[in-house]
Symmetry: C2
Subunit: 664 residues, 2 copies
Amino acid sequence: MSSTPSFQDHTRLLANAIRVLAMDGVQAANSGHPGLPLGMADVATVLFSKFLKFDAADPQWPDRDRFILSGGHGSMLLYSLLYLNGYPKIVLDDLKGFRKLTSHCAGHPEYGMLPGIETTTGPLGQGLANAVGFAMGERIMAARYGDELVNHKTYVFCGDGDLMEGISHEAITLAGHLKLNKLIVLYDDNHITIDGATSLSDSTDPIARFEAAGWATRRADGHNADDVAAALEWAQNSDKPVMIACRTKIGFGSPKKEGTSKAHGEPLGPDEVLATKKNLGWPSLEPFFVPDEILKEWRSIGTRGKDAHKEWATRFNASAKKAEFEAALKADLPQATIDALNAVKKKASEEKPAVATRKASEMALEAINGSWNLTIGGSADLTPSNNTKTKDLKDITPDDFSGRYIHWGIREHAMAAGLNGLALHGGIVPYAGTFLVFSDYCRHSVRLSALMGIRVLYVFTHDSIGVGEDGPTHQPVEHVASLRAIPGLRVYRPADVVETAEAWASALADKNHPSVFVLSRQNMATFRTEHTEENLTAKGGYVAADAPNAKVTLMATGSEVEVAFKARDLLAAEGIAARVVSMPCWELFEQQSATYRESVLGPGTVKVAIEAGLRFGWDRYIGRDGEFVGMSGFGASGPAKEVYKHFAITAEHAAEAAKSALKQ
Amino acid sequence: MSSTPSFQDHTRLLANAIRVLAMDGVQAANSGHPGLPLGMADVATVLFSKFLKFDAADPQWPDRDRFILSGGHGSMLLYSLLYLNGYPKIVLDDLKGFRKLTSHCAGHPEYGMLPGIETTTGPLGQGLANAVGFAMGERIMAARYGDELVNHKTYVFCGDGDLMEGISHEAITLAGHLKLNKLIVLYDDNHITIDGATSLSDSTDPIARFEAAGWATRRADGHNADDVAAALEWAQNSDKPVMIACRTKIGFGSPKKEGTSKAHGEPLGPDEVLATKKNLGWPSLEPFFVPDEILKEWRSIGTRGKDAHKEWATRFNASAKKAEFEAALKADLPQATIDALNAVKKKASEEKPAVATRKASEMALEAINGSWNLTIGGSADLTPSNNTKTKDLKDITPDDFSGRYIHWGIREHAMAAGLNGLALHGGIVPYAGTFLVFSDYCRHSVRLSALMGIRVLYVFTHDSIGVGEDGPTHQPVEHVASLRAIPGLRVYRPADVVETAEAWASALADKNHPSVFVLSRQNMATFRTEHTEENLTAKGGYVAADAPNAKVTLMATGSEVEVAFKARDLLAAEGIAARVVSMPCWELFEQQSATYRESVLGPGTVKVAIEAGLRFGWDRYIGRDGEFVGMSGFGASGPAKEVYKHFAITAEHAAEAAKSALKQ
């Protein structure tokens, strides 16, 4: 008898290929998470075989649906799918080498390691919040290039961990507010966390929760292919974002571990792997075995989108917007923007405005946003304080994505993760602001920007005790140090309008690193009064004022460069020659030649660093004999100038410190 | 005509005293947030005059209701209430000096600055999450000492900002799960954020949201005293936590700014202050003027709880548990625990176990938890990985708070803020765990532990590339540096069972600082094989192995102390004498005398630091000529030992580095 198998049976057969590869991969690594791949294999199979718009041969197709595995620990699900569908680069040996240094299959999916990994996931909740950024990116691009070029969905697999994390609240409520109806979340509702049943720690009604945030919701049996397909079919034309709660069994198929937390984060064990394969009726117990006909069918699923892709290419090639669209995806900093920022520098060097660097950043942004329409700005409800909204930026609203400004709400974490999603989506250069002290709230997403090496721009204002009256809760003292500690992140703390424009130019030109702008609330003088087109800030540190026979090098960043200049004058009045060095970006300074660095640091001079933050990290530049003028603990509430005096971050104290260092 | 005024009119009159002080305080400071105090004054007046159990004369009364102003920017509301009710210490000049260095009234309420400030608030969402900890603390203490000694409520004022933050989701769902029915949230539902109307960025239904999390909810007109009182009356006997959405007008009373974002975060302006006073019918336009009879009535409200307080004191003095209760509030580390930890040290020095420090921490915790019942443990769903649950810790459940272990769920941020609440509540010494890499998720609450100077203990395991296969998303490299950057925090990275026990002893003995334990996933040898009762770890750094005529000092922490010992042996084989220094806690090392520090660092030796993290911060100890063996970027996915080799964190490389430094 060779009757056609039911959709359910056929899906199960295809899904079991995922299960086999996943449990074998985890077993071979003797490390990893079989529970999620086994539990969500059926849902994934329905999605890939019936709904997801993709062409495995071209994972960069701009109008592909995005698939985000927010529970990145279930990475073998994704790797199995990439392999089975025939994505480029991945080979069976990668799966066999899962979690080894030699493999492309890292413990968690890492952006850039394999085509088809849309974003790095693992830290819970991040993928879900990235996905909101992806979905926003789609709407923004669609508003620009039309549905005929941009019309895709963003599918997310997420679990209880993702949904318990606070970031999920920020992401979900923002998506609901913006009516991101092409965002479809498939919730792996398996009732299990690492500590045991979810009921140990949670009693939330997920359906009611998403409904409260403006989502369309539905439940499905995650092991019933028809039910999942019906739910996904229903989701296609929603006018709201969609959450489908898929009731699944973690570790599906494992006789001993299915439905228990034992299935989550450790190999099933050799015996249980065999027992599971038998239980699933798999034709062979050989590791990584997938029958030819099943692999062939999966490979044909991988080509499902070929026609749609071709049709899209035809439309794209005929489009008047093709060149613009391609340029947007490339997103090279245009010469017009470089010129506009140079004009800002020139004007500032002539007019010497005394403004806060947050205002200077706004001046730079006027030039940038006016000359390059790929930038999308925003703020976590601090628009008037972050100075992130320039005159030609219209708000993005639920009904109109033709604007260029996002009111992220008081959602720093989802904002940063959303910026990652926007940048990863392509065609967009995203920036957004909050207070520097609240960089803590989004720190992990900043880390992921750095780990992925993507161009995301963070505008962190109110950068020191210069915040003044708001007091220690709002005065960052350790944040510049802690951001400098993140590998790959560029931390700019510019000192006037010229440096701020240079910082923006440098950051925008760097596609492979995220940047942070650390900006003052309070005004400061312009010291770069001689215009040069050379971007000195891009060197990271440079001599701002040299002095013949200098005995002292005064190093500073941001608002304290002005203090350094005043200290220099005080020392000069006493006959002590001092140089001033501005160090706006340590990371870039470290990339200069040793000769250049040494010349900037001033061999034979004593070093005094001045920064309204902690000493932590400065020892690298000032050495054991140098002095540091800055903070040694938390700040205090008072008018900024008084607080500066209170903590002795003054020219007088810096001059004294220099003299004290000279005496040693 | 002298008819008795209605409750509404009378409440309004009392509330206007708050409004006047608040707007005058902000105006005098020329900085601050009048909108919240003006908007919530009526609700606050109903709460304080009718419901809140307190005795202003004794703000430390253990059974007082807690009042938490989560929107700390509205601090003038709290300061006005403290002044009007007659709390100790605060005088009118403090209000007049609001936000000045000379005043006790800082920009945001700071714990320790004034009696009656239960917690430091300002960073949004923190107060709400603290309150969940307070409410848990109440239930835990009630389970121990009975309702007759512990039976109080926790009231929270929070706003849209608090509720948009992700931490609010974690806090609310946890409170709902635990059925914290004495937690009552009064939501300042004013429809305004800094950027404008809340509708700019949010469309969440707050009532449905809280209901989904298992709360009882109700709406009230925040300017109708009877309505607010009815809601609060209804809330008294809830079996769930309660959220009352109080519809208010931000900046209530201000003719020009009421109901607009202009009222939120800047002074009303002198003219508008006068106009508001006139509009409110206030008897005088003089700044800070409160008619005697109104002040008198407020002061009598401040004594409302005197009788209840007295009755409580009677019960307390008669209680057999009085001494135990008092000791719990004092919470001095008992000698029995010190002895038990010394026994752990002794046993380890004899048996020399090769275990991970997370396991060593569990061994210490067995000793601690078995000898001191004030400790309450927990984990953010990583119990089996963090090793935080010892054998005598029973789970705390919604129906039984007699346990000592909290399953926080996947809620790192609310966990840390909740620990702050538990510690602030009193009678509890809280600790909890997550992976070190996810310290980012709760970083701001850790900062607040440090800012408040409270004893909260963070168990952060899986502390380096030693995590292995999980890869860079789960391998902290910058986290130790970034935690060391937080002022006042003690960061311990112990190197064996002995150091781990010492770290716990040191941290528990310090009531004024939070501590972090940075603990390995992987095993390491015991090197402290000679037992001493002296706590060497409490010195921060010490000579682990001296060598006559040493040319090299090898410094390390945690798992790399073992690497340092092996490098010492390699160097010795080549005739190069090297010392080994263990540096488990930099902050404590910095507190030692200069002589001691210098003797440990080894004058005249070249320095090599070894730590499986970034160099950031180490320059302080190794100087410009020293060498660092560690990470210079993100990690990689592979078995831990291979990853260590891949990044050359090996004894061989350390020995080479030492020789290279010697050649310079």
